[in-house]
């Protein structure tokens, strides 16, 4: 606030001078006013359309029907969840008014809903929409199905409250609502159908048009009900500054790079790490390195095929040279790290349990284990895709490592659509490769920690360790309990975490206000002229 410093000295001779001084100061202050308000606002400009280059064409626009990141990235602008993550990965309310009231025994969550939140069709959100949406999520999404097992009842209490009763205390409940992959979003009850043809949500952007293989077009929703807290991560106030968002599928990584450099795309997702040096330092583009971004992991079929034998799975683990695999996938060491602990040192879930089995690349020992397990020579079917180039390269190294250990290998390179379909069938694969974002809540990923995900990992040790972990709500005690889960994973080898990698994305220098988060979002961002 500008206050003119008017001296209160009343000595007679000084008065005209003081007045002049005061007037001068006032004048200067008045002249400063526009600048001051300009500085205070400093928000990115409003208007314009952004071209956002994505890794491909989303299979569906139904965020509950797919765990593919691409679907969540796009549709998180259209739909919102009850709770979301802030910049420190704490759970924060979104469509819920505030954090829920939890009963003393930890079994009953009373969730207050915000009032006056409008859907894109103009109707107000009520608890009916919330209950219908969450029920759908619990039936469709794998995490939803896992969460459904914990839930005794889910019902509306009046139009503004939803009550969830659990079977036993379950700490990760709200985190599961917040995770964008296989998203628990709130849809307008009347729009719910399978397959989903109308996309009616509460988000700052509305669905306008989809031209497959060309773009998905979202436009600003003028009736958006924003929160009032300042933006923090995904939480807080969301403002649709850009008029229009165009998500363009650009499967060719090189084209994404070139398009960013030429200014054709205002944002390009998941650039190959080799391109970082090309994009870094250019005047019109900003290269963004997210470290760590994610981890590639291999899923092993514990239900059918040669790897149903735990001894052979352990042999696979010993045979793999994870350092080589990460190097093949990502090249320069500044883009990846090779370590067996699932969580980095310094984070609450850091543990070295079981890591003596990691990254051994010991062909001899593995061969001995293979022989001892009486491997009958059935080829190990490796399922991979070239949609993510690093998947394919990692798979190639894995194949060589396995062959060196005496396994027979059958590489099957398919397109991504076929892979996600095939991985649901036990007889069709033995190992497939995919990746996940690094998330702060351990049970959120990979899906094999849940139930019914491909790989079909199920064992008493798993249940015991996870039950203990899920039941513990005291955050100080959760760390060591996670170590126990990690140890079971290293012993039973349902999946193998290969390492951590950093992602490279690029944005135009004109895209202001962009905040780097694993599922890129474009509210609160604008295009300067």
């Amino acid at each position: 606030m500008i206050r003119a410093a008017v001296p209160t000295d009343r000595s007679p001779g000084a008065r005209p001078l003081h007045a002049a001084l005061a007037a001068l100061l006032l004048a200067v202050a008045a002249a400063m006013l526009p600048y001051a308000s300009g500085i205070a606002l400093a928000a990115p400009a409003r208007g314009g359309a952004a071209n956002l280059a994505m890794i491909g064409e989303p299979q569906t626009l139904d965020p509950m029907a797919s765990t593919a990141d691409l679907v969540s990235i796009i549709m998180q602008h259209v739909y919102e969840p009850l709770y979301t993550f802030d910049g420190n990965w704490n759970v924060a309310p979104m469509l819920a008014e505030s954090l829920p009231a939890i009963s003393k025994d930890g079994l009953v969550y009373t969730i207050p809903l915000r009032k006056g939140v409008k859907f894109h069709d103009g109707k107000e959100m009520t608890s009916d929409d919330v209950v219908a949406s969450l029920k759908r999520w619990m039936e469709m999404a794998p995490r939803g199905k896992a969460v459904a097992k914990e839930i005794k009842s889910l019902e509306a209490r009046g139009p503004g409250t939803v009550v969830i009763t659990l079977n036993r205390p379950y700490a990760p409940l709200l985190a599961h609502f917040a995770l964008p992959s296989g998203f628990a979003v709130i849809m307008a009850k009347d729009s719910i159908a399978t397959p989903l043809t109308q996309f009616v949500g509460t988000g700052p952007y509305m669905f306008k048009e989809r031209k497959p293989d060309q773009y998905v077009q979202l436009v600003r929703f003028d009736g958006y009900s924003a929160r009032s807290e300042p933006p923090n991560g995904y939480a807080g106030k969301r403002e649709a500054l850009l008029d229009e968002l165009r998500f363009v599928p650009v499967p060719n990584a090189n084209t994404r790079v070139e398009g960013s450099l030429s200014g054709q795309y205002h944002f390009a997702d998941l650039l190959p790490v080799e391109s970082f040096s090309r994009v870094d330092g250019k005047p019109n583009v900003k290269a963004m390195l997210t470290a760590p971004f994610g981890f590639p992991y291999l899923v092993l079929n514990t239900k059918q095929g040669p790897l149903a034998n735990i001894a052979l799975r352990q042999a696979v683990q010993i045979a793999l040279n994870d350092a080589d695999m990460m190097a093949a996938g990502f090249g320069d060491p500044k883009f990846f790290s090779v370590e067996g602990n699932h969580y980095a040192k310094g984070t609450p879930f850091y543990s070295m349990a079981g890591t003596e089995n990691y990254g051994r690349g010991d062909a001899k020992k593995a061969a001995a284990m293979v022989a001892a397990a009486k491997y009958d020579g059935t080829p190990i079917k490796i399922l991979t895709s070239q949609a993510y180039e690093f998947h394919y390269r990692i798979a190639l190294v894995m194949a060589e490592n396995l062959k060196a250990a005496g396994f027979k290998v059958d590489m099957q390179v398919v397109d991504w659509a076929t892979l996600i379909q095939r991985r649901n069938e036990p007889p069709l694969w033995d190992i497939y490769i995919t990746h996940s974002a690094v998330l702060p809540e351990p049970t959120l990923t990979p899906p094999q920690l849940g139930d019914g995900a491909p790989g079909w990992w199920s064992s008493p040790a798993k249940k015991a360790a996870l039950d203990a972990f899920d039941a513990e709500t005291d955050s100080a005690k959760r760390g060591p309990l996670w170590g126990k889960v990690q140890e079971v994973v290293y012993t039973e080898v349902p999946y193998i975490r290969v390492g951590s990698f950093n992602s490279v994305t690029a944005r135009s220098a004109k895209l202001d206000g962009y905040v780097v988060m694993p599922y890129p979002f474009f509210w609160n961002t604008g295009l300067s002229k």
Partner: protein
């Protein structure tokens, strides 16, 4: 009266090597074939041997064509790629020529079968090559065998057409009528007498189909609907190399040049054959 015992083919080969360009093409072809044949002895590295620390090296003494993103030697891969391309080409030619000759002879000789057979041939030829090949590989699955089968199906109609046209001409020649009058069996007429005299245009078509097959396999593999990507064919090398085109152009250049050399030398030889053909038969093509 007997059929001419001196086939045009023998005369052809002699005249062929008198033209310099054709000779050059033939030499290049022979070199490629020899490299492919003796690949394991000619190459300094295994084509699949990965050495991650040596990845993405530009051409140098230790790696003549550089290394790729997994540290594999590009020269070795290009040479082994020749094996795949030549094998695929040769098998495609073998199958399509066999099929095409059968269809074409029958269509050209038996008037009543001519219509139906050629209608099907016309229908097959209404599809652009790559399109039909893609569709067939999609049905059969992506493997080297299926690529060969798919391409053979694509090119058989072309051979059939040429064979039919030549058969129509040769059928009217006097000696055929004489043979028939003498009571020579139809099969013998078809497969000995007529075939002998249309061998030259078949040979020309065969060399061109070889070239087309090499190019087509590269295209299919590039699109991702050809042989499995872990096989080191020229097409898959370009497909995986294109994402590094900016920093490692050698990954794209060398396999491409190999394709050009193979296709070019085949066409030069084929051209040479064609130019020296009996003009009467040439008109029929």
């Amino acid at each position: 009266m007997r059929a001419p015992s001196r086939s045009p083919s023998a005369l052809l080969l002699r005249k062929l090597f008198r033209r310099r360009l054709v000779l050059a093409g033939a030499i290049v072809l022979v070199i490629i074939a020899l490299l492919a044949l003796f690949a394991p002895w000619v190459t300094p590295y295994e084509p699949t041997a990965m050495k991650i620390v040596d990845r993405m090296q530009s051409p140098r003494a230790s790696h003549w064509f550089g290394t790729d993103e997994l540290g594999r030697d590009v020269f070795s891969r290009v040479v082994f790629g020749a094996r795949y391309s030549l094998t695929i080409g040769a098998l495609v030619v073998l199958i399509s020529v066999t099929g095409g000759v059968l269809l074409g002879l029958v269509a050209g000789f038996f008037r009543r079968l001519d219509g139906p057979i050629m209608r099907v041939v016309d229908a097959m030829m209404s599809f652009p090559d790559i399109l039909l090949a893609i569709a067939l590989v999609a049905v059969l699955g992506a493997s080297m065998t299926n690529v060969i089968l798919a391409l053979a199906v694509v090119y058989t109609p072309r051979v059939a057409r040429v064979v039919r046209a030549s058969t129509l001409v040769v059928r009217e020649l006097l000696f055929i009528e004489a043979a028939r009058a003498l009571g020579v069996s139809t099969w013998r007429i078809l497969f000995v007498h007529i075939l002998q005299n249309i061998a030259s245009p078949i040979l020309v078509q065969a060399t061109f189909i070889f070239a087309y097959a090499v190019l087509a396999e590269a295209g299919l593999s590039f699109l991702g609907v050809g042989v499995p990507p872990e096989l080191p064919t020229w097409g898959t090398m370009i497909a995986s190399g294109q994402q590094f085109a900016h920093q490692a152009i050698w990954l794209v250049v060398f396999p491409g040049v190999a394709i050009i050399l193979a296709a070019l030398s085949l066409q030069m030889v084929g051209d040479g054959f064609r130019d020296l053909l009996d003009p009467k038969l040439r008109k029929a093509m």
